[in-house]
Symmetry: D3
Subunit: 250 residues, 6 copies
């Protein structure tokens, strides 16, 4: 169920009966995904998977956070970043707002690896206000984030489909998922080398661009196809639904 | 054209030829819209209209900002607010990011009245950094915001359709537009009184809820229908395309 | 009554009897006002009018906020700006301070158009802390701002005196009011063109200076005289006193 | 010369000839000053003295900062505080603004002891941006603050007039100065004890109120009179003019 | 070499010859470490290991950051936390300071798992200022963090010494290392159960205390002894020296 | 007693019996101290003296804050500064953390003059939250700072040892104290002139370096020796223990 497509009396009625206190918040990014990946790949994936998990778990899905922490991608046209401090403020405001209504468990279904540390720092900023006695209300808040690729079924399937070439950015898996979500936006682009340079540590955007000239890390997204996307969606919705239910049970 | 559905080489190629330096950023809210209005009304409207304007003007449309400044709606379940300071940080980061790539004119196509003052304060925060010599790069930035309802054709049509009952929040016009955008989510709800209490000044969320018990201000959204939405879309896309072109010409 | 000219036992005694909980806070700016307007025009006007309203309404008038949000005027020597975020912090601190003593209704009597959006963003920042449950004490706070030129009598009189040449900045009306307040500081300056270029959208300080070479927008301040100032003062004190009383009755 | 009473072409002409690059900024507070002291005492003193120093030194005097860091006085009605962080933002914005026009030496003529540490912290915040390479423009900025009571002549005169009862807050000296500045606002109040409890360390507002029940520290302001104020003004204007000239020579 | 024990001419001479531009910054925490672990365990370990790595690599070691992000430990007496935002400010200031002198590669040798995400968020905050064009100087900055337990030799040794009972907090390994560093502060405490409850997700301090009643997670620190500490030190200094050299080679 | 060398049950047991609610927090700096002074001089002194005071007073000593506000020293290699705002955040977090456990009186034993104003501003930031009603818990907090050189015995001894050449920075007294603390790090350096230029006002780091070419202010640290350090330690531990006890009695 999409929060955006409900009315306030519907949400009020839901919360009157719901005992989980949980809600799903998809978060992604707006950043380059190599020669054939869409700039919206990460938030499109998060949104698509969250929709499925919300249906399976009868949970509300909040509107997608379409921008993420992508400073390292700014060397490629079209990429946008939020500073970590901005993301922390955004997460705090959304969590505090939903907490006013009675939601207490916030599952940030994440499509972008670069969001993980700023999200966790944001959670600790919220908890610190509780733990330090500055905002005892925050003791009612629990946050978790998980990437859609992180579940067992999904990882196994990506391994089966792409062997050693799953890579780290602009992967065949995420591009396949988007191709299934948005078949009209499939791009056919030759890539050279076929498999992108492998993952190393990187720092800022100049550094990233020097290491990964077309934006990909370790991946071969020419292997993408919508049929893979369909299978990956099924796997990840099952994985993430399990993870969400486990989170609710904490 | 949706930025989210493009690849980075496509955007790079576009900017190599484009002389306008402009981009459209839809911004809305996640907040109650009365008994039959969707919580996502404001960002759905902004997104829908921005898509049309982007096509007419051959401009990129950035991913939608789905949350806005809605503190006064927090008395109604499901509403979410960003603090004005959070919105200012978010706007600054997005504008600075796109400015790195060469975009210089930022048109925030707005679906929510409550965003107007925090958006303008955010713009002045950016300009102040230029004017004070702290960030001369910001002299290359121009921002504008306009609500989709604000153009002449759209106002005339809303007046024609709803006479004196256009109201201020959860209006028949915005709900009609969403009904045309998302016909599967039309809600049929009896409302009493038929026309909501008229607009007055209001302050925080307790105050708002006391003044407007079901969330509407001065409106009769039972008059909404998808056909109105279709006509309103056409009017506003024309209005806003004109406004966007005028902004580019500054 | 000026808060600055009272002792603390006097204010304590006043609040023990007062049931309005209101206070008036004049706010202006320190910025260029064209060839013959004083840099302090906006805060001098706000201070002068507030004094009158305080007397009519038996209300305390807090010390004048002499600096405002004037980033667009920094191309002209002597102009000073506060960033919107600075103004928000200043307004929050003053409101919280006076709230400790029992004042609950804060009327920011404003002399500068550029303050309107940052002031309203500041109010929403305060309300958001209440609405989000972070500072429930803020539910006792109500803020309003109104420009001294905005009342019906004052607008009618300015129209009568200056016809179509009231303009938007460095207006004959505000300069007349200051000439009546500070007759020793009247400046006689030739201006060319007589009527300044009309209002358009503007952005940062370089942009503003290019559009309005001597700082005025659409005005002919050579029409100013202290006698007009006297009549304008009378009109605005009546207008604003009505507005203040109406605000107290909310 | 008052910056507020000049036009921008006058200030531009002044700076074209001036080689000192200096400006005086009066700063005070809005806080209780015992049974007969005005709430505006500190900013009235700063403003009054600054006017004199500006005339002696042919320097511009910026509009008075009427609010200061007064958290410890909030136990007494009418007192207002800025947080130190708010004051730092305000000082930074004003200094950066005036620096754009060519002012480089900022003399904060201070009427309130509680402002000293937050002002100095604010100066170091500005210098740190220069020293850390974040804002090299700030290397052109020099700030100083001095209390009007701190010069040799003034201290000697206060000692002569009030002997051992000069005290620390709501002193006979500051109240005399205000009585000379604003003779219509002289208050006649019996005080008991005649001399207030002596200065000790204090912390927050509850603590301060407990230690100093009527707000005074160590003073006997019943000794105040406008004639003392006249003599004190003469002494302090001489003292502070010397100090300002010495600062310009650094 | 300890930066704290050098003079400025010595550091200047070092940098004139050094081509690595690297420096080591130990960071730990001040937080409970179970019944027999010292509150300073994490920063003592980081300091001890950093000293060794500095000697092996001929690198300066900056003074230890003794406080970390420990909000989850605040349910146990003596624990102190920095908010993530505070840590980000602290890291930014230290990195910017050392960058002024010519250091460019910052290796945060970390003794506390809870620091990892706020540290990485802090690094991205710095890089974002470079990538967004706000502070191009930051393009000269590269940061890395690694926990002393994370190298291959150290993990193998801990596995050899403690088998499946290495645990996650108040581990035998870290307590052994501290016992070797500070033999006078060895505490003999009976613990029940011998092995602490296993690691699960946790959130804020109330939650943590409920899950782990004596503060330990999954560990049996009764196995600690100084001899283990000596062997662990040797292993980790080798591991971390390799990691530091690899970082310099990026 | 060092907090870092205690276990949490030990601190809990201490607080169950302790009625003072006090704790000592050493704070220094990482900054140049002239040709023969260690960069860590200020935090080494604070740490060394705090250890002695903690023993005399049976009080816990928190881990040393090794970095301070040293922007003016950044012209000399190896110096590090925290911005005043960063120090305020750090102090707030540490005080709030220890307050959760029952500590209420915080004695910042200070080794660096440049910390005084940012520390006091930080204290007022904490108190303001109490006084303004934003965080009533802060009414339980009292903070004090004192430099180790400030007591009567210590000043008399420094005068006896160094006569008129005590100076202001890189003093013989502080360097003697460090020589006694760390005899292995004594540096023998010729200095010219023997006595450094006298103290004047200074501003940012370029300005400081110009005035004091080798970093010293008014001092002759060639007079330092460990024996002086021993005598100074004894004097200051007595002075500061008295001051700490007096603070507890407030």
């Amino acid at each position: 169920m999409q929060l955006a497509h409900a009315t306030w009396p519907e949400v009020e009625a839901y919360l009157a009966k719901d005992t989980t206190r949980g809600i799903i918040i998809p978060i992604g990014a707006t950043e380059q995904h190599g020669p054939n990946g869409l700039i919206g790949t990460d938030h499109l994936c998060a949104e698509f998977v969250a929709k499925g998990v919300g249906e399976v778990c009868n949970a509300y899905v909040a509107p997608t956070l379409t921008y993420g922490m992508s400073q390292h991608h700014l060397g490629f046209t079209g990429s946008v970043t939020l500073r970590p401090s901005t993301m922390a403020a955004m997460v705090r405001d959304i969590v505090q707002s939903l907490n006013v209504h009675g939601f207490e468990k916030f599952f940030f279904l994440n499509g972008h690896g670069g969001n993980v540390t700023p999200l966790k720092a944001a959670f600790d900023e919220i908890y610190a206000d509780a733990s330090l006695g500055a905002n005892p209300a925050a003791f009612k808040t629990r946050c978790m984030t998980m990437m859609w690729q992180a579940g067992g079924r999904t990882r196994a399937l990506a391994q089966e489909l792409y062997h050693g070439n799953s890579g780290m950015h602009a992967t065949a898996a995420e591009i396949s998922l988007v191709q299934f979500y948005r078949p009209d936006d499939i791009k056919h682009v030759e890539m050279s080398p076929k498999v992108a340079p492998p993952h190393t540590d990187f720092f800022h955007s100049l550094d990233y661009r020097m290491r990964y000239p077309d934006g990909r890390i370790g991946s071969d997204p020419s292997m993408s196809c919508p049929e893979h996307g369909e299978r990956l969606l099924k796997a990840t919705v099952t994985d993430l639904s399990e993870a969400y239910q486990a989170f609710l049970a904490y």
